[in-house]
């Protein structure tokens, strides 16, 4: 029995990766939930927006790398991120002008927006494939580890190692900064307050002289920032492949719904709920059990509830449970 080693194993394979993944999902879900709160539809193009933002950032990163500019131990992509956000904002505002604004003026039903977002999804997906192709792209550089498994073992003298990759550390730090900025913006600034007012009660907001078009533009800019950041962080942590971003839609939607659609705090909580359940259910607990159980009880199997191929099933199951028992989400979203 060796509690310390067991904790390290758990931290290395579950807690650290799930925290990073949860932060990425939370950023994605925040974007979905903001669009839902203010524009009132579920944006199916969100995964591809993330892919587009990440793609622009990757191309700028390559440019910087070629010019010999780097951030030292940090990935160069962080330097390229603002450009990615700017280009994605332009794309989203352009999309709004060309596509969604018309339906807003028509006061179309939400489902029409959703179908329009399918069209936008196709176009963005096509654009990304057209520009960068369908293959895996690597763009991470700088230091690979904050703490490597070997260093950790040498310092602590434990049998098990704990590795924290730079991308995981950066994900968490950047996500915290993003969320802090977002909440400061929503709660402290005039524009942020008008956005919340618009989300709570559209008619009342219009009566008090809030310009809806301005609110919408700010929303798209924030969504572009969140989606690009989420996309780049995910790409740094795993790898950039356009199709995986499309598949991220399901866990992202699940996070937003589990937390309560339209509720930013809920989106963050939902992201971590989904990430931790996904990783802990698909993790094989055998090594963990070997450390905490006496030797003769050591398990024979892998102690893995589900194979990692079914990680989407986990988000789906959680989604179903929430829909069955608490359709408004943990934090009481605004929808039913």
């Amino acid at each position: 029995m060796d509690l310390l080693n067991a904790i390290v194993v758990l931290a290395n394979f579950v807690i650290v990766p799930a925290t990073a993944y949860g932060a990425q999902l939370a950023l994605g879900a925040l974007g979905v939930t903001l669009i839902y709160g203010i524009l009132r539809f579920s944006n199916f193009a969100h995964g591809d927006t993330m892919a587009f933002g990440a793609m622009v950032t990757i191309i700028v990163t390559w440019g910087l790398q070629a010019a010999g500019i780097s951030l030292g131990p940090l990935p160069t992509a962080l330097l390229a991120l603002p450009v990615g956000i700017a280009v994605t904002s332009l794309l989203l505002i352009g999309t709004d002008r060309l596509v969604y604004r018309f339906y807003r003026q028509q006061k179309a039903k939400p489902v029409i927006y959703v179908i329009a977002s399918l069209g936008v999804m196709f176009i963005m997906n096509g654009l990304v494939r057209f520009i960068i192709g369908v293959d895996d792209q690597r763009f991470a550089d700088g230091e690979r580890f904050i703490v490597s498994a070997r260093n950790f073992r040498e310092i602590t003298g434990l049998d098990e190692g704990l590795a924290i990759r730079t991308s995981q550390g950066i994900t968490v730090v950047v996500a915290v900064i993003c969320v802090a900025l977002l909440f400061w913006f929503l709660n402290r600034t005039r524009t942020g307050k008008s956005m919340r007012a618009f989300s709570d009660n559209e008619d009342l907001a219009l009566l008090s002289g809030i310009n809806p078009e301005r609110v919408v533009i700010y929303t798209w800019i924030i969504v572009a920032a969140l989606a690009t950041t989420a996309g780049v962080l995910y790409g740094l942590d795993k790898s950039f492949k356009p199709f995986t971003y499309f598949q991220l839609l399901l866990p992202i939607f699940a996070s937003a719904i589990v937390g309560g659609l339209g509720n930013p705090l809920g989106a963050i909580a939902g992201g971590f709920v989904i990430a931790f359940s996904e990783i802990s259910i698909t993790y094989a607990f055998r090594r963990f059990a070997n450390h905490i159980l006496p030797e003769r009880w050591e398990p024979e199997g892998l102690l893995q509830l589900l194979s990692t191929d079914y990680k989407f099933a986990v988000s789906f199951a959680i989604l179903l449970i929430v829909l069955l028992f608490r359709p408004t989400g943990i934090f009481q979203g605004k929808s039913l």
């Binding site: 329009a116 176009i123 989407f312 789906f316 989604l319 829909l323």
Partner: protein, 435 residues
């Protein structure tokens, strides 16, 4: 009938011209290949149109229901693998039964027990205990089955019945999955159904990719028996060679065209049956009720209609049609390739067909199915040609030139997206609007 309106005759006539031109300019084989998939696409579009056009339900899991239909084709028509059955067949059945029993028991106890902490504890106990038992039976059975000649079989095989039987069974499979999704997500916001169907589709495909004992997973099942003759048999039979001679055709080419025509005949029969049934349903009191519910749920509910259970009914019906079409696709391909089930191709493209054709109109969906499928196939060569023309002024070794030419394959998605948005904006009721 909207069918007889001259405009609609003209639209279908133009469609026919497209296919005839393809036949004359490329080859009749190509034209027939596109036509056969067009028939199936039309059926898929009909299924989605029933859900969307009649009831306003938003299903983005078409790919999952289609894949289930494909699975049915394997399970019905492939010959059984006796070694695999004796290795772990009964145990596998027992495992599946125990899984089902666990879920049944959990639901029953949840319903019977009074509200409170005890209920949650009992539910969790049943689920966790049941899962352990299930895994204890399932894992060895799976390993035993998958170790039987993994390169050739490694799965239980099917029932060895005629493949056409798989079509209605595929529909049943899809209906079952639709029932589970509909039970949970209907009655809530419309977006929730969309997201739930997106999820179930992902899971169905994950199961089909990973459960090798069921249908070999990504190792694919090939050589699914055909409902129509094989080319090689035709080429060896005297009546066929005589027929080819009389028509003055090369009998090798003619045999492959003949096989495709047989498929066309089967598919046309299914399409005609379905469109007759859907048209009858649409114009029946039931159809009027469905449209009333779609147009005003509140007032229909006030008239005593159970909106949620009507929605469930139509959701299951539409999904069953998608399952049927899925079984037909696998029959046509002669193989089950789980990794080919791409949501962009099997879900979102079908949506483009329905919206472009005219939501709520069955003939519109059929038109949309053929037209969009034709475009989907043809955009690639047209895009390639376009790119070659655009880049013809560039240097031979220019990087941009080769990039543009390589990217032509991705023009499809772009084109479909633009097509969808344009129709949605400027002609939201589609090519053949609902009456």
């Amino acid at each position: 009938m909207s069918m007889i309106a001259p405009r609609n005759v003209l639209l279908f006539g133009m469609l026919a011209v497209l296919f005839i031109l393809t036949g004359m300019m490329q080859s009749w084989n190509t034209a027939l290949t596109i036509f056969n998939m067009g028939l199936i696409s039309a059926i898929l579009a009909l299924g989605v149109n029933i859900q969307w056009g009649y009831a306003g339900l938003f299903n983005v899991g078409v790919v999952g229901f289609t894949a289930l239909g494909g699975l049915a084709a394997v399970l019905v028509s492939m010959p059984p693998v006796p070694e695999a059955w004796s290795a772990g067949g009964p145990r596998m059945l027992l495992a599946l039964l125990s899984g089902a029993a666990t879920i049944g028991l959990a639901i029953a106890s949840w319903r019977r027990l009074p509200n409170g902490g005890l209920r949650v504890v009992v539910l969790l106990a049943i689920l966790i205990g049941g899962f352990m038992i299930y895994r204890a039976i399932f894992d060895p059975a799976r390993d035993a089955i998958e170790s039987v000649e993994p390169a050739l079989t490694g799965y239980l095989g099917g029932l060895g019945l005629p493949v056409v039987l798989a079509w209605p069974i595929g529909g049943l499979f899809a209906a079952g999955a639709a029932w589970i999704v509909g039970k949970t997500a209907l009655g809530l916001r419309s977006d929730y159904l969309a997201i739930a169907t997106l999820g179930i589709a992902e899971i169905i495909i994950a199961v089909m990719k990973n459960e090798d004992w069921l249908a070999r997973g990504v190792k694919n099942v090939t050589g699914i028996p055909r409902p129509v003759p094989y080319e090689i048999d035709l080429q060896n039979s005297s009546w066929f060679i005589n027929l080819a001679d009389r028509l003055g055709a090369d009998y090798v080419t003619f045999s492959s065209i003949f096989v495709k025509l047989c498929y066309s005949a089967l598919f046309i029969a299914v399409l005609l049956l379905l469109i007759t049934l859907t048209q009858l349903a649409l114009n029946s009191p039931w159809g009027r009720m469905m449209r009333a519910i779609r147009d005003n749920e509140v007032s229909s509910e006030a008239m005593g209609k159970n909106v949620t259970s009507r929605h469930l009914q139509i959701f299951i019906l539409g999904s069953a049609i998608c399952g049927l079409a899925g079984a037909m696709i696998t029959t046509l391909d002669g193989q089950l390739v789980p990794s080919s089930y791409n949501p962009l191709r099997f879900t979102f493209l079908i949506w483009v067909m329905v919206i472009v054709g005219g939501s709520g109109n069955n003939w519109g969906s059929v038109l949309g199915g053929f037209l969009i499928w034709w475009l989907w196939i043809m955009v690639e060569p047209i895009g390639l040609w376009l790119m070659t023309v655009i880049t013809s002024g560039m240097a031979e070794d220019s990087g941009l030139r080769s990039h543009l030419i390589d990217s032509a394959a991705h023009m499809r998605l772009l084109t479909m997206g633009i097509f969808l948005l344009l129709v949605l904006r400027f002609s939201p009721r589609g090519l053949i609007p609902e009456k």
